[in-house]
Amino acid sequence: MVPDPRTETDAGRSSPGCTGTGLTRRRVLRLGAATVVGSVAGCSSGDQTRTIDHPAAADLGDQPRLGPPPSESDATVIVFEDPSCPVCRAFEERTVPKLRAILIDAGQVTFYAREYPIVAPWGTLGSRLLEAVYDRSEEAFWRVRADYFDHQEEIRSNNLYDHTRRYLEDTAVDADAVVEAVQGGGYRGAVQADVRAAKNADVKGTPTLFLFESGEYLTDIVGAPSYTLLENALGY
């Protein structure tokens, strides 16, 4: 199979201008994680290297995360969402703030967000833009993501670049660089990695959550579960 040259402009490969050194945030994260793993190899205590063995957790180290790393929390939640999905929006507005305030910020739950654009046509472009923003600033990523959910009804493929550019002007992220990177074909691979993980995990719709307890698979949940459901399913 001939590799798609467009994927070679993904962050972490040959994309210029992210940090000016060819090092991207994603690559730094991977190197940092490898260093930590190497330095604790041979230690007899702790579960610092706990990995989650599940298709939904493929390439998890590259994914946006809220809360501590999985090795430091009791439970992990991985959610596959589409920025254009109304049910995902309901989950983000109703459940995630409570989950964040009560369990994530307390260090008890790790939360990962992954993209699975299957609803509106702009979902795929939105996912790539989110990956491009995440590659530059994790904080800006969560804000842009929330903005996409807030303005779902207005966003279309033909206004998403402008919408994103306007929003990023109030952040430290270079809006032009983000838009140009995506317009140049970048970040397809990053989104494809999420889509591949979703398909391997048999995700049929959005949102779909995967719950893990101490690294062990607990269950999946399709739809927008309430905080009460999540809290009880995780044993709190």
Partner: protein, 207 residues
């Protein structure tokens, strides 16, 4: 067993068809035991829809989970419309309505089977009614986000990753399911009408 096979399947396009359905429903619900059966089958239909959204959650956490009973009961309750948030408001209302329709359909089918015998139930109208009830219930099985059902169907025919927007945020799927159940109700009502006519004729010939 006397199998009656009809080649034509009618649709309720006339006012008299709806009056036939209404009479059949009234007849069935005039008996208290069938009212009770309606309640039970509605709850079962609602539970089937709620659990079908998250079968793995139900089995792994509610049934087989090691959590305290209170946690598991909370999880189970949160899977139902209005008790949890899995269903949006309009979808929750439509799921309740659909569950009632399915419950009514099942009740009428059982009445038909019980009052008019096996032959009527396995005739074209009875079979169509049963199939309609099943399809209606299954069609409602993905009301959380109609996209997932439609995306699944599209991927079955090889168009993976196809972008589908379910009408009215998935409500369209529920409405389709409701239409199928109403068809099932009509076919069952027709079958009941036919079964009653058969019985009347049999009683007359016995005299």
């Amino acid at each position: 067993m006397n199998l009656q096979i009809r080649t034509a399947v009618r649709l309720p396009v006339h006012a008299r068809d709806w009056r036939l359905m209404a009479r059949a429903v009234r007849r069935v619900l005039s008996q208290r035991r069938y009212v009770g059966l309606l309640g039970v089958s509605t709850v079962l239909a609602l539970s089937a829809i709620a659990v079908a959204q998250n079968g793995e959650l139900f089995v792994r956490v509610v049934v087989l989970g090691r959590l305290p009973l209170s946690n598991r009961l909370h999880v189970l309750a949160a899977m139902y419309p209005f008790l949890g948030t899995t269903f949006e408001f309009t979808t929750a209302v439509s799921v309740l309505a659909l569950s009632t329709l399915v419950g009514l359909d099942v009740t009428m089918l059982l009445y038909h089977f019980r009052e008019h015998g096996v032959s009527a139930a396995v005739g074209a109208s009875g079979t169509a009614g049963t199939a309609g009830a099943l399809v209606g219930a299954l069609g409602a099985g993905c009301v959380v986000c109609g996209t997932s059902l439609l995306a699944g169907l599209i991927s079955l025919v090889g168009v993976s990753g196809g972008v589908v927007v379910a009408p009215f945020e998935g409500l369209g799927v529920t409405l389709l399911a409701a239409a199928l159940v109403v068809l099932s109700l009509f076919w069952t009502a027709e079958g009941m009408h036919g079964g009653m006519r058969k019985r009347e004729l049999a009683e007359r010939s016995d005299r």
